[in-house]
């Protein structure tokens, strides 16, 4: 291992859902460990993480927890002035005339604005768990050395703002990478182009956008490449199920962003079978 080499941070994203982000992440990790690299796969799809399933793993004991500070009312201090309810931009504070304010946790993003604005200091922060971080060890041993670690973020179900869970999972993964002197860290993102995806991509050196040759694939590729450009992350395209559908739409978007299709993965019954049985980890990429 060359310890002088800098850790490479790669985002694996795509815009559209179900194009094969997790599959590509696992296949890519496999390729890297065969080259003798130490790899951390960090599943940042905290609403629906799947990498552990693809690797045939289970999420058992959590290695870390993610907290947010939700508001708690001290009725003794509250003057029912209504400022907190008027301030909350998520409409998460309801106050009937002459009554105490009620905090609706389902709508609360834990931003803390109400605590700042309360003139009586009647609102205090209360820590609550919003997610867990899992570390799966003992994977993929090559040359008598452990080469692959999986780190998974999992948001509490029903949580609205999942970006902070992604951010904490990444922080955990980056610290762990330092500890084990990893060569690569792959951030597998959720579908879409917003909060949780942005949190996952931020700080990456490079990104792969995984897509499929359909008009939907092309439309969403346009959005995700736009996002990567805004975040100043160079991105290349991986075209999954490349021989089905129509590549022209994809080509147009690729030219628009002056990038290229790095790899085409042809339709493969074998791959689909392996995926549907949770055995992707056994397949070779190249």
């Amino acid at each position: 291992m060359n310890s002088k080499q800098k850790l490479k941070k790669i985002g694996i994203t795509g815009g559209k859902g179900g194009t094969g982000k997790s599959t590509v992440s696992v296949l890519f990790a496999n390729k890297l460990i065969k080259e003798g690299k130490k790899v951390i796969l960090c599943d940042c799809d905290v609403e629906c993480p799947n990498d552990y399933l693809l690797l045939g793993e289970k999420l058992k004991k959590s290695a870390g927890k993610v907290y947010a500070e939700f508001p708690k009312l001290n009725k003794k201090k509250c003057s029912k002035c209504g400022l907190c309810a008027r301030t909350c931009r998520n409409n998460a504070i309801f106050q009937a005339p002459g009554k105490y304010p009620v905090f609706i946790k389902d709508l609360c993003s834990a931003c803390g604005a109400c605590q700042i604005v309360c003139p009586n200091k009647a609102i205090t922060p209360e820590k609550e768990e919003i997610g867990k971080i899992y570390l799966n060890n003992k994977q993929r041993i090559a040359n008598n050395e452990q080469n692959l670690w999986l780190i998974t973020g999992l948001a509490k179900s029903g949580l609205e703002e999942t970006g902070p869970v992604v951010a904490e999972t990444k922080k955990f993964a980056l610290n762990f990478a330092k500890k084990i002197k990893a060569d690569y860290i792959l951030f597998d993102t959720a579908a879409g182009t917003h909060c949780p995806v942005i949190s996952a991509l931020m700080g990456c050196d490079f990104a792969y956008a995984v897509t499929e040759p359909t008009p939907m694939g092309a439309y969403d590729l346009n959005l995700i490449l736009d996002l990567c450009q805004k975040l100043k992350i160079p991105a290349k395209v991986i075209l999954n199920q490349a021989d089905l559908g129509d590549k022209k739409g994809i080509q147009k978007i690729v030219e628009k962003f002056k990038t290229k299709v790095e790899k085409e993965i042809p339709y493969s019954r074998e791959l689909i079978d392996a995926y549907s049985r949770g055995k992707i980890g056994e397949i070779d990429f190249y």
């Binding site: 559209k16 859902g17 179900g18 194009t19 799809d45 609403e47 629906c48 799947n50 399933l53 693809l54 947010a68 500070e69 301030t87 931009r89 998520n90 389902d106 993003s109 834990a110 931003c111 803390g112 604005a113 700042i116 604005v117 948001a155 179900s157 029903g158 949580l159 609205e160 703002e161 999942t162 970006g163 902070p164 959720a190 579908a191 879409g192 182009t193 917003h194 909060c195 949780p196 942005i198 949190s199 931020m202 499929e212 359909t214 008009p215 939907m216 439309y219 969403d220 959005l223 995700i224 736009d226 805004k230 975040l231 089905l244 129509d246 739409g249 995926y275 549907s276 049985r277 949770g278």
Partner: protein
């Protein structure tokens, strides 16, 4: 009775939400044109007006599944959030640091003594404006999304929308889109949700009377289905399940069928030709694929289900 608002969700992406949503919208809208003999016993013949709503504001694709991505009748720019504008000249370094510490989303930092915003992390909550001891942080609205409306070839309106890449507030765009859709007179609203379980999905599900969950027989599909079901149950919404691509793993499919029991609405087979059809902008209902028959079967089943209640 037919529920007024149906939301189609899945947890996992790419399992067939938009395909199913587009086909069901077309079937319900066409229904009134069917001869009486075919529509007998179907409660849905009372459905006269359908409105289709694409609530996947991160990656809106329902228009493509309806065969026509362009030709929007109306596009409106909207603002769903505000971002702080900072006048650094009046802030001391210490104050800048205090402001940055107040941001729960790590969107504020101090660089060379100046308070700096990372717009990609900002949630637009306004805590910094409220806190700033000098009052030099001001929240200003940003135009960060759009709503698009059109009349489809199939005689019902489609309301779609988008949050621009890199912006915050997808849940709020969803709420705006649904509000816009409500301006149409409708008997049935069909809502296509984003994947995942977070804010846009929750906003799509809110006020729904029925949820159609779509899954595929893969460990990921099943796991994500159970995750999103927790959200559905949280809102106490009744639901049914469709298994798409059931034949890629018949064993797991039958396990999911057993798990679903009477909630199962139907199964759709895997067909590579769906790719080709959609690449040619051909809606599923205008093909001769087996998938089309299977979706029609699900449509009939839904009518039956709601008839009996």
């Amino acid at each position: 009775m037919i529920p007024k608002r149906i939301t189609i969700i899945s947890g996992k992406g790419g399992v067939g939400k938009s395909m199913l949503a587009s086909a069901l919208a077309m079937l319900f809208a066409q229904n009134k044109n069917l001869p009486r003999s075919t529509r007998q016993n179907l409660d849905s013949f009372r459905i006269k007006k359908v409105v289709a709503v694409d609530c996947d504001v991160d990656a809106p694709n329902l228009a493509i599944w309806l065969g026509e991505p362009e030709n929007w009748k109306e596009t409106k720019k909207i603002s769903v959030s505000e971002k702080p504008v900072i006048d650094n000249s009046k802030l001391t370094q210490k104050e800048a640091k205090q402001c940055a510490e107040k941001c729960r989303f790590n969107a504020l930092g101090v660089e060379k003594g100046m308070l700096k915003l990372n717009p990609f992390l900002c949630e637009g909550c306004g805590a910094c404006e409220l806190f700033c001891p000098k009052g030099v942080i001001k929240m200003r609205p940003v135009k960060n999304g759009e709503i698009k409306i059109k009349k489809t070839k199939y005689n019902f309106p489609l309301v779609s929308g988008q949050l621009f890449p890199g912006e915050t507030g997808s849940g709020k765009v969803v709420t705006e889109i649904k509000r816009e859709a409500e301006r149409f007179k409708y008997d049935l609203m069909i809502i296509d949700s984003a994947p995942g379980t977070g804010c846009p999905v929750i906003a799509s599900l809110q006020d729904s009377n029925f949820a159609i969950l779509v899954t595929e027989p893969t460990p990921s599909g099943f796991s994500d289905l159970k995750r999103v079901l927790k959200v559905v149950n949280h809102f106490n919404i009744s639901w049914g399940l469709v298994i798409n691509k059931w034949d890629i793993n018949p064993r797991l499919s039958s396990k999911i069928e057993k798990w679903a029991g009477r909630k199962l609405l139907g199964k759709i087979s895997y067909d590579k030709k769906v790719f080709k059809a959609i690449a040619d902008f051909k809606p599923i209902l205008e093909t001769d694929l087996k998938v089309k028959k299977e979706i029609k079967e699900i449509f009939r089943g839904l009518n039956q289900l709601w008839q009996d209640r």
